[in-house]
């Protein structure tokens, strides 16, 4: 039994596996399969200040080895999160990461303020949602905007602050450095790649939003590359995600530079995927003489 514990921005996770924001709700839908305490943490569904309905359906399209979604941050608002979801999650013995997705800097600051007195372990600031017009990815594709919003939320919270980055940029390392300079304690990446599918019979985009975010195994090599680049460019920890489906994928992502990993789309294919990854990582470590899984982080030796 390897030591699976990892630390990200001062927060200890019992293992490196975290369901990603938007893919796992608040965990309730999976508790009949396994206790949430088997996971290292949970990144909760992205929360705006007042809640919103999101985009019209269809909001999902299948792609080769992946999927597009255009949910558009449907959520019940930060107060509902604090009153209705957090008390449940507090009892589950895993790290609770609140995902903050305001439309304006002011919204994000206010959400962070409301989270400040709560038991939330960590804030993940989403500056990369491709599916909302205001805010979302707009913050994540400019260094200056990314720095401003990060600095503002930084001032509003004493909680560990992780910023979730968009891959739809020319240089993700520049964005990562900007949010590091603005006081982020960690970065998480990658959010989804912007994509589109068309129903050739109706000649209509499958998604009512026309475009949506690509996730699933298809994007894994892009995610590994970006995590590797960012981990080599910043001094704060990186939480890696994007197409992880197996324990081997998770190990590859950690070797690229991730201190912990998030899983999203893979859970739709297999609801047990996160716990299988925890077990598989442990077995792999045992078989390969790795005593502490944290030692895998950034252990790739480039040519």
């Amino acid at each position: 039994m390897a030591d699976l514990q990892v630390k990200v921005a001062g927060v200890t996770f019992k293992n490196p596996v975290i369901p990603a924001s938007g893919a796992y709700g608040f965990g309730r839908e999976y508790e009949c399969l396994y206790p949430l305490s088997e996971l290292g943490g949970i990144s909760c569904k992205g929360t705006t200040l007042n809640g919103q309905n999101g985009n019209p359906a269809p909001r999902v399209a299948e792609t080769p080895a992946g999927m597009l979604n255009s949910v558009g941050l449907q959520n019940a608002g930060i107060d509902h999160f604090i009153e209705a979801e957090l008390p449940y999650l507090e009892k589950q013995d895993l790290v609770v990461i609140a995902n903050v997705a305001g439309h304006t800097i002011e919204d994000c600051v206010e959400i962070a303020r409301r989270l400040e007195p709560t038991s939330t372990d960590m804030i993940e600031l989403n500056i990369s949602c491709p599916n909302v017009k205001q805010g979302g990815a707009a913050f994540g594709t400019s260094c200056q905007a990314a720095e401003e919003i990060t600095a503002a939320v930084r001032r509003a919270t004493t909680k560990p602050l992780m910023v979730k980055l968009s891959p739809n940029v020319t240089s993700i390392t520049d964005i990562a450095k900007a949010v590091e300079a603005a006081g982020a304690d960690a970065v998480s990446l990658i959010n989804t790649l912007l994509g589109m599918r068309i129903d050739i019979n109706t000649r209509r985009p499958i998604l009512k939003n026309n475009v949506g975010g690509l996730s699933g195994p298809a994007v894994f090599p892009v995610a590994v590359r970006m995590v590797w680049q960012v981990a080599n460019a910043v001094n704060i920890p990186v939480v890696g995600m994007g197409g992880i489906a197996t324990a081997k994928d998770a190990i590859e992502m950690m070797m690229a530079g991730a201190s912990a990993i998030q899983m999203g789309a893979a859970i739709f294919a297999d609801p047990y995927a996160p716990v299988k990854v925890v077990r598989g990582m442990n077995e792999w470590c045992d078989a390969h003489g790795v005593a502490r899984i944290a030692d895998l982080t950034g252990s790739v030796q480039p040519w």
């Binding site: 893919a23 709700g25 309730r28 839908e29 909001r59 999902v60 449907q74 789309a265 609801p271 047990y272």
Partner: protein, 256 residues
């Protein structure tokens, strides 16, 4: 919320009509949990997303569920190629089924096309106290009419072209039935225009009505929120989710 996920054997397979397949899967625990109107979420090798398929019949004693589905794309085409003896990766039962009224209450089941299969499981709850009104494009597309009779439910068959049963839509047959006698509940599944017609008639005759909806789906359990459908909640429009809040909704709550 209680469901299971695992690989279960396909024990029987039939081709009921062009592109319509009939699977019987042995999954004791799943069958024990399932209720008519719920669905299962199937993984098809080579495809990333699961496919939601409504449950047609549940045999708790035999520990089996019956699924009748249509080939609509490459995923369901691949699903149809699975053979008896092979395993199918099934998640379920999922979602909310139809209300099952106490013994003696009467219900009408209305099904259109591939919306007919889920009505069979509900009909078997009511037996002879139910009446099924089922519609298909033409005689070649007709399925399951004998099965309704088997569970004791009389069945009015309609076809768009009149090549079998009544010539016309199920709504016309429903109107005639409602004129004659009003049941305690109408249950419906089918294309949106049909559901709209059914709901209008239910309103007109003051009969409670439940409809089963479909939408492109992700997780199947209410976590990913992709399968949104427009509903009314406390007088305000609310995007509910077919997989968890449905697939069966009270007719008054849905905006079609």
């Amino acid at each position: 919320m209680s469901y299971v996920q695992g690989e279960y054997p396909l024990i029987a397979k039939k081709n009921l009509a062009k592109n319509i397949y009939d699977f019987t899967i042995r999954a004791h625990h799943l069958a024990a949990l399932a209720e008519p109107g719920q669905f299962v979420h199937l993984r098809v090798p080579g495809f990333f997303l699961r496919r939601p398929i409504s449950i047609c019949e549940i045999d708790r004693e035999a520990g089996t569920i019956r699924l009748v589905f249509e080939i609509r794309g490459e995923g369901t085409e691949a699903l149809s190629r699975i053979n008896p003896g092979e395993l199918v990766d099934v998640m379920g039962p999922l979602g909310k089924g139809f209300t099952l009224l106490p013994e003696g209450k009467k219900a009408i089941m209305v099904g259109g096309g591939i919306g007919v299969p889920p009505m069979l499981g509900v009909a078997s709850h009511y037996g002879e106290n139910a009446k099924a009104i089922v519609g298909f494009r033409n005689a070649a597309a007709v399925i399951l009419t004998d099965d309704f009779k088997r569970v004791g439910t009389s069945c009015i068959l309609c076809t768009d072209d009149g090549s079998a049963g009544m010539h016309g839509f199920v709504t016309e047959a429903l109107k005639q039935e409602l004129e004659r006698e009003q049941p305690d509940l109408i249950c419906a599944c089918g294309p949106a225009p049909m559901l709209k017609g059914v709901i209008a008639l239910a309103d007109q005759y003051g009969v409670p009505c439940e409809v089963s909806l479909e939408e492109r789906m992700g997780c199947g359990v209410g976590a990913c929120l992709v399968c949104a459908c427009r509903t009314v909640k406390d007088g305000k429009e609310y995007l509910a989710h077919v997989c968890k809040d449905g697939p069966v909704f009270d007719a008054h709550d849905v905006i079609l």
